[in-house]
Symmetry: C2
Subunit: 325 residues, 2 copies
């Protein structure tokens, strides 16, 4: 029995499920999860999305987002708990998960396979593609609300079809989601063109911190504790800022250092070359994909930055990539 | 006989053609034109892309870009000249076009239909979709080089599948182009992630000029003559900067004013609401699409900006859109 078939068999036998994703949930976690919740409800399963961090503002337009239960613990007696896009069981930040039958649906190659049923497909650009494939087996017809959720999952995890995970299948599914009533421009507007003015002010601050390494192969930006406090006060998210250093010609690893003023410094990494940033982040207890990962490192902003850059300079030297032009 | 059939019939009867597009050619003009040149060559037609402005750096990765003839006049005796994405005959900036049989292939609704054969399809997200449809009729098999050119045409004219012109057909074609060997991430990297450091410095300057109108419905940025001279010296293009004011929640019309230090001020307009910016730009001799247009206006930067904003405030009042929240 394939991993997907095991999921189908289980979902055909349950009466109630909780669906969850990782902390600070993203478009794939929320879109895939909300699509699955709606699909299960349509076939009579009582399904609820539970999120420790609730739904970030950027994703509140998703159909079903209003019904997400914000909670750090599960209390009801669900027949199963489905973890979406969680390479490890602790990622949702939910206590007492051990009391439930767990189903792990993910596309991270480095998945710990911690659940009773594990369906892991690293070829999928987004878990949204996997949920799309699940619908016929569940006997669920694609409708507009499911389509908008799955489209959002795919758009966010492919960077609007720009990342190397985008495949022929990705576009085939996108075409089908449009036929079901999803409007790409409406999703793009909600995701990317409904920004507070403060977001652009923050972008300007971040660009002011941009440094291109003399080698030309590393570039980074940073926000200090004051910038981060300001961004929180204005409810501005910062996750895409790392794309600015990433966009520079010749850059192989781009970084974004974020000092929250308390606790460790958050480091986002993007690779466009041979450096596996998931493996790099794992050295600090972080994770992600080969080309997009993150970790948190204890120390002052300057110290963390200098330490990480020194390690990456060494790693880039070791991989003997093309030098500066 | 449909307009498309007329084009097919003509192309089946010629031995030599020049293909051209508008001044400051974009991804659709160049990608569609280079795809057509390659397609025609493969069936024995001597075809050449001629561009008054040559090929901007951003598009030099396109297969066939090296063979583009940079010239402001046609000299050879072509059997026909094909104008791609030119709503008027003067757009290519080529002299002596009247000596040739002209073919007009465009997707602008406001096309002047100035040619012997006019194929205008405003439903096409990009002319690239029209050229894709033409290939089977020309007896041309899709190959990787054609696919990369057409994919670039579609990606640039849909804003990476974010604009409202993106359709089910757009994604179907994208899927087929991937099957022919186009790699979306390679195209995206060439288009958007191969920027000079100066581009980010210019973005920071432009963000420093950002103003959100008190109504919340207009936002704009501007570059003065010194900024523009700096951007030219660093070979940085500025066309996407208008997307920053466009990204602000509630903004209905976004503008970018560019003072080149000589001649008229260049104004780029983007609409996300009911204002038809192509019609607005036409009042100043400009043009474009309903949601993306441009024009050039004689005057000092301050005067031009204030005049255009006053007109737009009046127009927004007249359309009685939603006021500020």
């Amino acid at each position: 029995m394939s991993e997907q078939d095991e999921v189908v068999a289980l979902l055909g036998s349950v009466r109630s499920v909780a669906v969850t994703s990782h902390l600070a949930p993203d478009g794939d976690g929320l879109g895939s999860g909300l699509a699955l919740v709606r699909a299960l409800k349509s076939v009579g399963v009582a399904a609820r999305f539970v999120s420790t961090d609730g739904v970030p503002r950027r994703y509140r337009f998703l159909p079903g987002a209003d019904d997400v239960l914000r909670a750090a613990a599960l209390v009801e007696p669900y027949d199963a708990v489905i973890l979406i896009e969680c390479p490890e069981r602790h990622r949702p930040g939910l206590s007492d998960l051990d009391r439930y039958r767990l189903v792990n649906i993910d596309h991270h190659a480095l998945n710990a396979r911690y659940a009773a049923i594990n369906w892991v497909d690293p070829r999928a650009a987004a878990v949204g593609e996997m949920i799309y494939d699940l619908l016929p087996a569940l006997g669920v017809a694609l409708d507009r609300d499911i389509a908008v959720n799955l489209y959002t999952a795919i758009v966010t995890d492919t960077g609007s079809f720009r990342y190397s995970n985008t495949t022929h299948r990705t576009f085939e599914i996108a075409a089908a989601l449009l036929s079901a009533g999803c409007q790409p421009a409406a999703v793009a507007t909600a995701l990317y063109e409904d920004e507070p003015l403060a977001r652009l002010e923050l972008t300007r601050k971040a660009l002011g911190s941009l440094v291109l390494d003399p080698s030309g192969r590393l570039a980074w930006i940073e926000l200090d504790a004051a910038d981060v406090a300001w961004s929180l006060a204005h409810d501005v998210d910062t996750e895409d800022l790392v794309n600015y250093p990433r966009s520079i010609a010749g850059v192989e690893v781009a970084l974004f250092f974020k000092d929250r003023g308390h606790g460790p410094v958050k480091v986002s990494l993007r690779s466009r070359g041979r450096v596996d940033v998931a493996a790099f982040a794992a050295r600090f207890g972080g994770g992600g994909h080969k080309q997009a990962a993150g970790c948190s490192i204890t120390g002052k902003l300057d110290e963390v930055r200098d330490r990480v850059l020194a390690m990456l300079r060494e790693e880039l030297g070791a991989t003997a990539g093309p030098g500066p032009a």
